[in-house]
Amino acid sequence: MELYHNITINHYLVLAAVLFGMGALGILFRRNAIIMFMCIELMLNAVNISLVAFSKMWNHTDAQVFVFFIMVVAAAEVAVGLAILMMLYRNMHTTDTSVLNNMKF
């Protein structure tokens, strides 16, 4: 198939970099803990895109297995993190991290 040759691996790396930077920007920009969580998911996805692009580049499946494990860890992280958020909300009645600053130095 000759129809895919203008897109290089670099295109995918640029896309991954932009998505990762937007996730980091969102974490810095927002103060709602749930939105910050979703930004973490976005950053994980950006890394996944670059891993799949590398898998394509080497024509090898190992990177796709890494992506699989990243998804597993992300799912576990979300389950525990959202439970923590629920408990925080129950005790403090907010998810705004500019209010939840008791551990701030």
Binding site: Y4, L25, N45, T95
Partner: protein
């Protein structure tokens, strides 16, 4: 040619809905925008010949994780407009910091000269197949696979314990 257009379309959808996720005031709209981003990312996986990953990505992210997010937003009753009490100064500083990080990453990508000429290559329908991935996963990566199941068990116990009423 067609998949080139598909690449650009999916990329724009992913980036713009990610921006919508960050900048929308209503958390429910943020979740929906992020789901659109995830679908675009799944489309990229398809284009890269990782069909199994694309399906798993949609099932796990759009089907499980984002539903969990929506549930928590619903239970905490956060679906109202929030006003963040921060100065325009701190907001613009955070945007500048994120933008600078993005620039650094893009510059680092630009420096990878040896990758510049490599085309993403032909569509290889065999590599991302379930059979192929399963062979790798259950042979070479058997121990990490089992460890991941232990991790899931720990996360499950932790989530159930943390959301018990008596802890509050």
């Amino acid at each position: 040619m067609l998949s080139e257009y598909a690449f650009w379309f999916l990329s724009f959808v992913a980036v713009f809905s990610a921006a919508g996720m960050i900048f929308s005031k209503n958390p429910v709209y943020s979740v929906l925008s992020l789901i659109i981003t995830f679908f675009a990312v799944a489309g990229h996986y398809f284009l890269l010949g990782a069909q199994f990953l694309a399906a798993v990505h949609i099932i796990v992210y759009a089907g499980a994780i984002m539903v969990l997010f929506l549930y928590v937003i619903m239970m905490l009753n956060l679906n109202k407009l929030e006003e963040e009490k921060r100065s325009i100064w701190s907001k613009s500083l955070s945007v500048a910091a994120g933008g600078i990080l993005m620039l650094v990453l893009l510059a680092a990508v630009q420096r990878t000269d040896e990758l510049n000429g490599i085309a993403a290559g032909e569509f290889n329908p065999v590599m991302g197949q379930t059979q192929n991935l399963g062979n790798v996963l259950y042979r070479e990566f058997l121990l990490p696979f089992e460890l991941a199941s232990v991790l899931f068990l720990g996360a499950m116990v932790g989530a159930v314990y943390l959301s018990k009423k008596e802890l509050a």
